[in-house]
Subunit: 289 residues, 2 copies
């Protein structure tokens, strides 16, 4: 992704939370539009690390320092984003644009609607991740060819949406629009259910076979439980703010597991279920380039 | 693994089923002890492929051709191994050694005990695998540093066990002894439950979000469901011959998922469950070299 000569959609951006996603947004913006002024807000040690990597131009010690930027990106865990959003409404009286990158969208979109702020809020969620969290693993190409979902709720934000779409495209992502409810239901299946499944499986297997048993495990268990190493603090907020959709998804999985349990000795049924799953997996992994 | 000058534990081996495991046993034996005579038994096309790769010396068109080998390895899906075992009891009247590589051990060990054959049977299970099945993916180093479980049931087979352990060590594996029941319970958690979980999750997610939703999925779902691409024919037999242990494992997982469902809005409980799972995953993936 070479630096672009076109006018950037935002001249200055404030990023609240410089973890894997916030840090990667900084690095990707820097690479695409080197002239954009980037301000980070996070713990001092993380700001120092981001400054040392050249990911940001300045570190802020509070929200007032972000009052003059064109775009604020909330990139902390969901509940912190909700709290920051309230603070932004107090500190920022200009009609700027605010977005977030959290894993659930209904909660923050509803919160924004309730605040009636001076700024325009459009919820966002780049579907990008990595095996490890934190600024140390941030990369300028994290969003390359990945979907970046935006969840606009009113026509009045059309110009804001256009700018955010141009921003997401600029850093390599594929912007997609859907409603907050559609997003939360889809992500309950694509992301939240696999996460809970991996953690529940890992905990059940570990508690049963202990250290000695795990020492014999192969790649299959390791792959299936890879997500169980995800940061718990991110997931407590996602579970809390998508509990209804996630309950439905869990019910469906439990129903499927119970059906398998009932049919373990029925070879044709087992084979049919496995064939069905294998077909969906082929669909999941097929090359869409 | 350079060729060895020490006397091989078996001068001639017959391998029934040249898939990923059977084919890899042939290739690994060939590399370690080039002088051992290897006979394969499988469909004609697979025998031709194995001969072309130099994995075997001869292809057999039936069990009688294996009547003079020192060791027979049953390396087809479990129910086929059970059927082959009965045929071996009919065709082989010499006191040779027979083992298998199937994913469950009680069923075949009990079947062997019921046959009172001329040969000695010791159940075996190399815990090695790959993302793809079949001879094309067989490798001489598939067993390197992987456990190879043997499930002897009587002291009379001590010499047989010693030879099999030497064979497993020779191809790079770490031989381990346990009872058939211990094996089946352990594998229900390490292998069979992750497999069923991956297939159930993939089927549930696919049926809900369809092709359009799957097109947006990331690496998390792909990793968690990787096992759902495993060959269904292998798994119908494993489910059928380990249904009791697998039912218990499924019950435990369903219980964990139900507990998560009930606590989705309780942040501290969710975080505790996730932390527990993350600790077990750290144990699972720690370097044991």
């Amino acid at each position: 992704m070479p630096p672009s000569r076109e006018t950037p959609p935002f001249e200055s951006i404030g990023i609240v939370g410089l973890g894997l996603i916030g840090g990667s947004i900084a690095l990707a913006t820097r690479q695409k539009w080197p002239g954009v002024h980037l301000t980070g807000l996070d713990d001092r040690a993380i700001l120092d690390e981001a400054l040392a990597r050249g990911a940001i131009d300045a570190g802020a010690d509070g929200l007032p320092a972000l009052a003059t930027v064109d775009l604020i990106v909330l990139a902390a865990p969901v509940r912190q984003n909700l709290e920051r959003l309230r603070q932004v409404a107090q500190h920022v009286q200009r009609p700027i644009l605010v977005t977030d990158v959290g894993g659930t969208k209904r909660a923050i979109v509803e919160a924004a609607a309730g605040l009636s702020p001076a700024f325009t809020f459009v919820g966002g969620h780049p579907l990008a991740g990595a095996a490890h969290a934190g600024l140390a693993f941030a990369r300028a190409d994290l969003f390359a060819n990945r979907p970046w979902i935006f969840t606009p709720v009113a026509q009045r934000s059309q110009e804001a949406i256009d700018r955010l779409r141009r921003f997401a495209s600029g850093v390599g992502a594929v912007p997609i629009l859907m409603s907050p409810a559609e997003h939360d239901r889809l992500l309950a299946y694509l992301s939240h259910l696999p996460q809970l499944t991996a953690s529940a499986l890992m905990a059940a297997v570990g508690a049963t076979v202990k250290e000695e048993g795990l020492a014999l495990a192969g790649q299959g268990l390791k792959d299936t439980t890879r997500l169980a190493s995800s940061p718990p603090s991110v997931w407590r907020d996602i579970c809390a703010t998508n509990a209804d959709a996630l309950s439905e998804a869990l019910d469906l999985l439990i129903e499927r597991l119970s059906a398998l349990r009932a049919d373990l000795r029925k070879g044709d049924t087992i084979e049919a279920i496995f064939n069905d799953a294998a077909r969906w997996r082929e669909e999941l992994t097929k090359d869409r380039q």
